[in-house]
Point group: C2
Chain length 212, copies 2
DNA sequence: ATCCCAATATGTACTTAGTACATGTAAACT
DNA sequence: AGTTTACATGTACTAAGTACATATTGGGAT
């Protein structure tokens, strides 16, 4: 995350940020599907090809932090307390992220707009589902590494899929709770309750594996 | 599934079937992404607009039986043995489908091509994920009906998501097992084993709900 | 049989995302 | 200063999907 001293890199990053800012603003204002790439290019004052140069797909301008999440999960499992089971490590991580109001798990007016924008676009929902599956794959591989098993270990695949399913429901329901109550604490409570409920099942189902 | 006596309907259905057949053949031969709608129209000897008339999206020509699955699940829960918990009903349904070599859960050369075709296309994988989520929603609503709860009941949402996650992993891993062993019985064994493993967790996690 | 209506098939024209490839331009390196 | 390289940009294209107009034909009414 350090800013490169290199002028060329700094310019490139500035261009990218300009595009991202323009795109984000337009998406929130008018909805993802009602903004064209040409309009984004015009708003960012760059050529249309420059946009595709930085963001291969239109959706990438909206979801530009998914790699951070993958890295966060990889690191959490890599540097985990050896006395703690991998699944338990991830449960506590979820608690911590919710507690710290991490940008990935937070309930604010901003996150509401974010969720609403996704919800109003089939394209964004499709991309969100794809990212969910990619994260599940990362977790599966990271889990298998914890146990010294093969990356395609069946138990790891099942554990990761169940975890991501649980977290997805937890996030969605928490956001809905926030929309109803406008209370971040209530939303957080919903989130951790569902995460814990799902994890209980996981601990029993995978009791005979090295993951719990 | 009765053939309508109506000539107009029969013609329409014949046109639709012709398009579907041509499309399926081409998709399997050359891969989904390397077939254009124009080519499908030409192969089926209809106009391009006729294709979009019957199948709003290109993917719909590939996945044209997902509504059957939704209906199957709805019916299974609606006409279930009242002495059996909903989640258990679905576990036994999965067993029965695998046992009967139902088209939805089967392991043959044909199903291999089907899976391989999906696997080689991002578009088809995206649609498969969307269908999975739609089925999860149907199961969630059907479950909540069993218990006389609201359709957006949190426990039903969690149960349905965990179920679909389990089934997805089970299907995927079973197909991989079949590809390695070429043995449908072995694949079926993998399938039911994962379904049972996932369901065990579900039964514990949702023990305090009317769904288990 | 004939006329009319409605469903279906089809054509035309358009929008938009995304790709391939060529080229201009300015930073970085020798 | 000259060369190389990375980035920005333009042109031209493909293909999915939409909007809307039109032709055709089966089915029902008189």
């Amino acid at each position: 995350m350090s800013i490169p001293t290199d002028l060329r890199s700094r310019k490139r990053l500035a261009t990218r940020q300009g595009i991202s800012n323009a795109a984000t603003r337009l998406f929130f204002e008018r909805g993802f599907d009602h903004v064209t790439v040409d309009e984004i290019a015009a708003a960012a004052d760059v050529g249309r090809m420059t946009v595709f140069n930085h963001f291969p797909r239109k959706e990438d301008m909206f979801f530009d932090r998914d790699e951070e999440v993958r890295e966060l999960l990889r690191e959490a499992l890599r540097q985990r307390d050896p006395g703690l089971a991998p699944v338990e490590t991830l449960r506590l991580l979820a608690h911590r992220l919710a507690e710290e109001q991490s940008p990935y798990v937070c309930f604010t007016a901003g996150s509401q707009s974010f969720v609403a924008t996704i919800d109003s676009s089939e394209t964004l929902k499709a991309r969100a589902r794809a990212i969910r599956d990619e994260i599940a794959q990362v977790v599966a591989v990271a889990l298998s590494e914890c146990a010294g098993r093969e990356p395609d270990d069946v138990d790891a695949q099942l554990a990761a899929s169940l975890l991501l399913a649980t977290w997805s429901v937890a996030l969605l329901q928490a956001h809905q709770a926030y929309r109803r109550s406008q209370d971040p604490a209530a939303a957080k409570a919903v989130f951790v309750a569902i995460v814990d409920k799902g994890t209980i099942g996981l601990n029993v189902a995978l009791a005979d594996t090295p993951y719990v």
